[in-house]
Amino acid sequence: MTVGLEHFLILSAILFSIGLYGALAKRNAVVILMSIEIMLNAVNIAMVAFSRYGHLITGQVFAIFIMVVAAAEAAVGLAIIIAIYRSRETVDVEKFDLMKW
């Protein structure tokens, strides 16, 4: 069986699901951020695979924009985590319930 588009897409789906589990299940905010990065990378793999097998460069352009957003998100997200850590001495998201009613 030759490696085709489906393989890359399934790899992307697996990585995305792993990232999703991590984002939903972990308590450490930094790990959640890491999981989100995995999800973004999974999406990038799908984008590049489409670009390769659809013979369209646009997919890679999209991947670049996703990287830009991911970088911005990482910077702001980590800054938020550090700010919260400063005020609450923890990064356990189960203790962050300020958005409750």
């Binding site: 030759t2 490696v3 085709g4 489906e6 393989h7 890359f8 897409l9 399934i10 789906a13 697996i14 990585l15 995305f16 699901s17 792993i18 990232g19 999703l20 589990y21 991590g22 939903l24 299940a25 972990k26 308590r27 450490n28 930094v30 790990v31 951020l33 890491m34 999981s35 990065e37 995995i38 990378n41 990038n44 793999i45 590049v48 670009s51 390769r52 659809g54 013979h55 460069i57 646009t58 890679q60 352009v61 670049i64 924009f65 990287m67 830009v68 957003v69 991911a70 970088a71 911005a72 990482a74 910077a75 702001v76 980590l78 800054a79 550090i82 700010a83 990064v91 356990d92 189960e94």
Partner: protein, 161 residues
């Protein structure tokens, strides 16, 4: 070629699982770096040379360093990375999502173009990004503004009062 894909795929999935399941948060971050590296390899397999380089620069270089900085600054390493009360339901959601995606991917008749891929991609990418018609100049400029806003925002958030 195919062997490279399989090796990279197995390593990337394994390292992603390590990121999620390891209790030691520092090791998890290192496995994340490994995962990013293998994904760069997958880009190479996909003949996306420019993206592979960008992946190494941005993710492995910048974001990984940022994350390690965050781990250091928050000093949560002794407590590790425990799973929360939603782990079972999160696992169910993730597994169901994976099944659904696999069903969709295998159930779809993909229209694949079997031409030889263009290489190197740097020049076509630049064409696509900056060409006068159907280019992405405006989104590119907006992305620059976004990055600037993110940098200022991050500084404002972390600055000592």
């Amino acid at each position: 070629m195919e062997i490279a894909f399989w090796i990279l795929a197995v390593i990337s999935v394994a390292s992603a699982l390590a990121v999620v399941f390891l209790r030691n948060i520092f090791r998890a971050a290192l496995f994340l770096v490994l995962c990013f590296f293998t994904i760069a390899g997958i880009y190479v397999v996909l003949h996306a040379d420019f993206l592979a380089a960008a992946q190494v620069l941005i993710y492995v270089g910048a974001i990984a360093v940022l994350i390690i900085f965050a781990i250091m600054l928050t000093r949560e390493t002794p407590r590790g990375s425990p799973s929360g009360r939603f782990r079972l339901i999160a696992f169910l959601v993730g597994a169901t999502f994976l099944v659904a995606m696999i069903l969709v991917v295998t159930g779809t008749d993909w229209q694949v173009i079997t031409e030889a891929p263009t290489e190197p991609t740097t020049s076509p990418l630049a064409q696509a990004l900056f060409s006068r018609e159907e280019g992405f100049v405006l989104p590119f400029e907006i992305a620059a503004a976004l990055l600037l806003a993110a940098v200022i925002g991050a500084i404002a958030l972390v600055r000592e009062k």
